[in-house]
């Protein structure tokens, strides 16, 4: 589920951090820059693990800050394809199940990857696995489930531009808000729930 990656970067230590020991200041800057962010094609950074190498600092004319090239290792959340993870069902819809892992929520199980003979019941807002004519197992919201990672999707997210001041008047219905909620995540997982051992933890 987690891995260490070696990165190198040029960090800018602003003057207000000069009072700290050098390593502490670098760590703080790196954590501020990388923690809880997705690196494309690499994964979600949790935090800096350790600092391997610190080069001499550089100064830029007209800037009070110091620039230091560092090599460091950080913890990344990057499950491999085929790994079994545990999470909670966030929501169910006709298209599939959305899974929530507290710190990472962009996990989706499409309907084609849920158990065979499963149907969605809009009335109960749940997916039902009909094992045989007698046994019906429910995949309810907030149920703790096991799932298998099938595919990882990285999206290039463009930087946010300035907001259109006219949009306030144009989108009276609040479309803008919806757009924000449906924005493509930089890192998402496609999961499956088809084999024995998957599905609600309490079943097995």
């Amino acid at each position: 589920m987690f891995q260490l990656s070696v990165l190198s970067d040029l960090t800018r230590i602003p003057p207000n951090l000069f009072s700290l020991p050098r390593l502490a200041a670098i760590k703080q800057e790196l954590n501020g820059k990388y923690a809880n962010k997705v690196i494309p094609k690499l994964g979600l950074v949790i935090s800096v693990w350790d600092i391997l190498e610190v080069e001499d600092g550089l100064l830029k004319p007209g800037d009070g800050a110091i620039y230091i090239k560092v090599r460091f290792r950080c913890i990344l959340f990057r499950p491999f394809v085929g790994e079994v993870l545990t999470g909670w069902i966030e929501s169910c819809s006709e298209d599939g199940i959305r899974v929530n892992m507290e710190f990472f929520n962009d996990i989706f199980i499409p309907k084609s990857l849920i158990f065979e003979n499963s149907i969605y019941s809009p009335k109960e807002n749940a997916w039902i696995w009909e094992m045989d004519s007698e046994n019906r197992l429910y995949l309810d919201v907030n149920e703790k489930i096991n799932f298998r990672v099938e595919e990882e999707v990285f999206n290039d997210v463009k930087p946010k531009g300035p907001e259109n001041p006219l949009s306030v008047y144009e989108n009276v219905n609040g479309d803008a808000k919806e757009e924000k909620a449906n924005a493509t995540p930089p890192y998402a997982l496609v999961a499956s729930c088809q084999t024995d051992g998957m599905g609600c933890v309490s079943w097995w």
Binding site: D9, I39, S202
Partner: protein
């Protein structure tokens, strides 16, 4: 930024959890009311939070996730070493061993899900041995054993989750209070900054 080694090492949940606990200790983010709140200490803490807010969020969410998945403070390193030594007796891939350590399978079904082609590579006896190895080193906690019970408790569990959510909201409220205090401080800083800028202008004029 340059990625030098994409996958240097794999980490177990335990190692990650230990690291998070350390970060929380360093920054004194305990998410509970501190015993003695000295003013000076509190101030310094809040300044840090400004830049490390993302780190605080992720450590909080992730450690909660790990705790809910049978990770606890009293996991002993010897137990993990014991388990790994035991697992080394079997012909398992590295990632399979890692997953066994992370998920601590209690049933054959889950073990089969973790280990590829389990029925061809291992006999049923070996699998049973593997399971007992796990439960010897990490005895199941309350609620984990007795699967029938868990099913009956399904409703209660949901309530538990709801309660947790309530608590979260409370926490958020507390945080909001803190933020308002911070805003006052920020205003002060702004004043100071303006003074400084004004001072510089005066200097410039003198230079000219």
């Amino acid at each position: 930024m340059k990625v030098e080694v994409a996958r240097d090492k794999l980490l177990s949940n335990y190692e990650v959890y230990e690291h998070l606990v350390e970060i929380q200790k360093e920054n004194s983010w305990s998410y509970s009311i501190p015993d003695d709140g000295k003013k000076e200490g509190k101030r310094r803490k809040k300044r840090k939070v400004d830049t490390l807010i993302d780190l605080e969020i992720i450590t909080k969410d992730l450690s909660r996730y790990l705790v809910q998945n049978s990770q606890s403070n009293d996991t002993k390193v010897e137990k993990i070493v014991n388990l790994m030594l035991g697992l080394n007796m079997y012909k398992l891939e590295r990632i399979e061993k890692l997953q066994i350590l992370n998920l601590l399978p209690r049933s054959l079904v889950l073990l089969y899900a973790i280990i590829e082609d389990c029925d061809q590579r291992f006999t049923e006896e070996q699998c049973e041995d593997l399971l007992s190895l796990v439960s010897d080193n990490f005895p199941p906690q309350d609620g984990e054993d007795g699967q029938m019970e868990v099913i009956e408790d399904g409703e209660e569990k949901k309530d538990g989750r709801a309660k947790e959510k309530d608590e979260e909201e409370e926490e958020e409220e507390e945080e909001e209070e803190l933020i308002t205090i911070e805003e006052d401080e920020i205003e002060n800083i702004h004043d100071e900054l303006e003074h400084e800028v004004a001072g510089k202008k005066v200097e410039k004029e003198i230079d000219e």
